[in-house]
């Protein structure tokens, strides 16, 4: 394999149409579709006494109004996506609530009309009588269990899990020093610029359902719709077209609309669409990050961690559709890049009357990182050591891989780090950070992390060389901006010796590739990237064999270069891939494009049947890649900040990132992922706060008050890489999608703590929060 494209800063092939306004997002699709609106619960916890849709149904232009009673699946609980034996009290909502609502934004009635404005008018005259019930809104109040979110879930506890590696009690007892710490991390929201949308059409003639969905997992949506509607999977097509950002919450399935829109399209015999508005996105789409940690650490006079005992509660929200993956990831990721010889972690996943939680970029890790990094800072402060020195003394060394942490991972295996060079990350970050800027109220922050990426079970790819010599490639996973079409093309182009511009990639369209899992957990490059390499490698092998047959040479003497298969070192002895694509498909009828070369009287004679046993027509192949375990990316962030002691305005003076995601396919793309991740981290650490009141109302459900950073808040990010290839996959790659966001809270907390001299134990911060923390109590 030549490596002409892999590792290069190849400009993105998807840009042109997006820049010209020719992108195709779900709400751009119309085709005479009826429009729909959901009536949602205005209360965080209430019993539904009655639902009256008479007036709505009577409104001119209204086509249908559905309540739970009108749905054949109205009394079916939506699935628990990832069951787990420790999830003893898993609960999911129904498509439309009919008895009790448990968060503001829970769907109750679905209105379909000739236009969006009519649907919204009709939604306003739907009458739902509620009896309000006591609200449980913070994880602490959930754990106190004065009120229950679900009557049949004692203590509000959905799950409890304890893991221990080593002997924590004994090592704490014998540790020279012990420290107890308390950390609190509030909810955050992914807030992609495109809210969610679904469009569906049912073809009675073809008995076929076609769904466009702004989802991160069209293959799973297809599987679920096939089960729900009793259709063969081949009669269900799900396409994630251009998706305007995902960041995790777009992989929840099913949101009610993902069932209701196809259902209505089938019932009504017309296309139906639903497009979420920004306000409903704030409460209807899953959130994440709410956790409260109690930590006890035992350490020696050198600052080495001897034992770590972590006990935390995780805010599940009102339901647990995503199982307990988030607290499992947090539990696994607290130790990070450090040796923790004795580690115990217990969590309780507790119900609250708020939007359900599922992964949001970072998925359990920013809070895990915050806990560990703040703990190391506390050790440094107590011993009077440099924060970097404490980290240096605790880091896992490059010769210790594979490194077993001793707790379970989200794929059902144990956590085993595959490769890394953590001391080099730290050293390089400190070097790049440079000297401290002068002035008062300046603080330095430091944070390190590992990230389990590239989780299974698998992805696949189909690669075909057309008779034109152009190449098409497809995989099941969609892109939400990660430049899949570019990086997959780079991988395929290298395998086939063609130009990136000659490879056209399709993702997230089950008509082109029906199998796979989804885009999440920083897994695309590892799973789909390697699948692309596998499939393209199979095509290359097939091309070599056909060419060898024709050129009467040994396949091992052939190479794929410049769109040709040629004898190594003899460019004049070869044949174009286009010609091989023709020969790969013996035809009776020449249909142009040079195919006459593959008809029976013109093709080169070959003994036996025209397709030998085991041969398949076409210069194409389908390949899969299933990782043996996660690949562990890592990094170190460091920053200087200044905080104004009067206004508590935060100024980030310098922010450096050293990142290791194994072999980098396209530095341009990876740097974009990191820059975007850090910006989301800064937003989550200092500007964005989901302001729930005691009644469970989100008081800032708009971009006017939920302060996502603009360009004026985000500094330049200085990025550098080291590469420790993963030994687990042929490309040596690790995931990179979430890395940027993970340590930002820890870094800023550390820096602000030093700048102001006040302890920081919670996230998010804000000028107001710093003002409160600075006041003498």
């Amino acid at each position: 394999m030549t490596t002409r494209w892999f590792g290069e800063r190849v400009p993105r092939v998807e840009d042109d149409r997006l820049l010209r306004g020719h992108g195709r997002f779900t709400d751009d699709i119309d085709d005479g579709a009826l429009e729909s609106v959901l009536v949602r619960s205005p209360f965080a916890h209430a019993r539904i006494l009655s639902i009256d849709v008479t007036a709505a149904r009577a409104m001119p232009g209204v086509v249908a109004v559905y309540t739970a009673a009108d749905l054949p699946f109205g009394q079916t609980d939506l699935p628990i996506l990832i069951p787990h034996p420790r999830l003893t009290h898993g609960r999911t909502q129904r498509c439309l609530a009919s008895e009790v609502v448990r968060y503001v934004g829970e769907a109750v009635v679905f209105v379909v009309a000739e236009s969006r404005s009519v649907a919204e008018d009709a939604a306003e005259v739907v009458q739902v009588d509620y009896e309000q019930l006591p609200v449980v809104i913070t994880p602490e109040s959930a754990a106190r269990a004065e009120h229950l979110v679900h009557d049949d879930v004692p203590g509000n506890v959905a799950a409890e899990m304890i893991q221990e590696a080593g002997a924590v009690e004994a090592s704490l007892a014998s540790a020279p020093r012990r420290k107890r710490l308390h950390f609190r991390f509030e909810r955050g929201a992914g807030s992609p610029m495109e809210a969610r949308a679904v469009w569906a059409r049912w073809s009675t003639a073809e008995h076929k359902l076609t769904v466009y969905d702004s989802t991160q997992s069209p293959t799973s949506i297809r599987g679920g719709l096939a089960v729900l509607f009793g259709l063969p999977e081949s009669n269900v097509e799900v396409i994630a077209p251009d998706v305007g950002g995902g960041f995790g919450p777009k992989i929840m399935l099913f949101y009610p609309d993902e069932l209701l829109v196809p259902f209505a399209a089938m019932k009504l015999g017309r296309p139906v669409k639903w497009t979420e508005d920004r306000q409903e996105h704030f409460t209807a789409v899953n959130q994440e990050r709410g956790q409260v940690h109690e930590v006890e650490v035992g350490f020696d006079e050198e600052g080495k961690v001897l034992a770590l005992d972590v006990d935390f509660i995780h805010d599940a929200g009102a339901y647990t559709p995503y199982g307990i993956i988030l607290p499992i990831i947090t539990a696994a990721q607290v130790p990070g890049p450090y040796r923790v010889p004795n580690y115990r972690v217990r969590f309780r996943d507790v119900y609250t009357n708020a939007t359900p939680t599922s992964p949001y970029r970072g998925a359990g890790r920013p809070h895990a990182c915050f806990v560990m990094e703040r703990t190391l800072d506390a050790i440094a402060a107590e011993l009077g050591l440099e924060r970097a020195e404490v980290r240096r003394r605790n880091l896992i060394q490059p010769d210790e891989f594979p490194y077993e942490v001793g707790v379970g991972w989200q794929d059902g295996n144990m956590v085993v780090y595959d490769s890394g060079n953590y001391p080099a990350l730290l050293q390089k970050a400190l070097t790049n950070l440079g000297t401290r800027p002068s002035g008062d109220h300046v603080g330095m922050g430091l944070g390190m992390y590992v990230e389990g990426t590239g989780v299974g079970p698998y992805e696949g790819a189909h690669v075909q060389v057309l008779v034109s010599g152009k190449v098409v490639a497809a995989t099941g996973i969609p892109s939400q901006g990660q430049a899949h079409a570019t990086v997959w093309a780079q991988i395929v182009a290298d395998q086939l010796g063609v130009d990136v511009a000659d490879v056209e990639v399709t993702g997230g369209d089950t008509r082109r590739f029906p199998w796979g899992v989804g885009t999440f957990a920083s897994r695309g490059a590892v799973t789909a990237g390697n699948a692309m390499a596998v499939a393209a490698g199979m095509v290359a092998e097939k091309a070599r064999h056909i060419a060898a047959d024709h050129l009467e040479v040994d396949p091992a003497d052939l190479e794929l270069v410049g769109g040709k298969v040629q004898v190594k070192g003899s460019p004049d002895r070869g044949m174009p891939l286009a010609a091989i694509a023709v020969l790969a498909n013996p035809v009776r009828y020449a249909f142009g494009g040079g195919t006459e070369a593959a008809t029976q009287f013109t093709a080169r004679p070959r003994p036996g049947p025209q397709l030998h046993e085991g041969e398949q027509p076409g210069l194409e192949a389908t390949g899969y890649y299933s990782p043996p375990g996660s690949t562990w990316a890592a990094g170190c962030h460091a920053a200087y900040v200044r905080v104004d002691p009067q206004t508590f305005r935060l100024e980030i003076l310098k922010y450096v990132v050293i990142h290791d995601c194994g072999r980098v396919i396209n530095p341009l793309v990876v740097e974009g992922q990191i820059e975007g991740g850090v910006a989301q981290g800064i937003g989550g650490a200092f500007y964005e706060r989901l302001a729930y009141d005691d009644e469970g109302q989100l008081r800032n459900a708009s971009f006017m008050e939920f302060l996502m950073p603009y360009a004026t808040e985000i500094p330049a990010i200085e990025i550098d890489h080291i590469e420790t290839p993963s030994p687990l996959n042929p490309l040596g790659v690790k995931g990179a999608g979430e890395a940027g966001v993970i340590p930002v809270g820890a870094v800023l907390a550390s820096a602000i703590e030093e700048a102001l001299g006040i302890p920081i134990t919670e996230m998010p911060l804000s000028p107001l929060k710093l003002f409160e923390l600075s006041r003498p109590s």
């Binding site: 610029m193 305007g244 990660q482 430049a483 971009f703 006017m704 603009y710």
Partner: protein, 151 residues
Amino acid sequence: MRVNGVAHPAPVDPRRLLSDHLRHDLGLTGTHVGCEHGVCGCCTVLLDGAPVRSCLMLAVQAEGHDVTTIEGLAADGAPLHPVQQAFHECHGLQCGFCTPGFVMSVVGILAQHPNPTADQVAEGIAGNLCRCTGYASIRRAVTRAAELSKK
């Protein structure tokens, strides 16, 4: 109103937003809607050459005016507009949803400041939200667009 140089009949529905009119009546779906309350900037178009939020205007208010949308910057098959080209070169977009709004805003910034300072760049794009890029690449794209615009 004229949209991208083409005259269109007056919108029929008086409560139709300009953004919805462009997207759903005229099929110009390159203008995106991210918040419908004027904060995110995804729906930015040029009204008589100046950037405006098309979600904060009724379509009827645009009567008698010239509207330019992202589709109007470069004809199909023609090279990209310098601002579009700069976004491509600088990796100034990821998912592409906020991109048309940014591009239209930057066209407006450069009309006002052909040689923008770093502060003018940051302030100029501070009416547009992007959740993917972290803005660094967009700031680079604005500077690059200023260079390309002079060629």
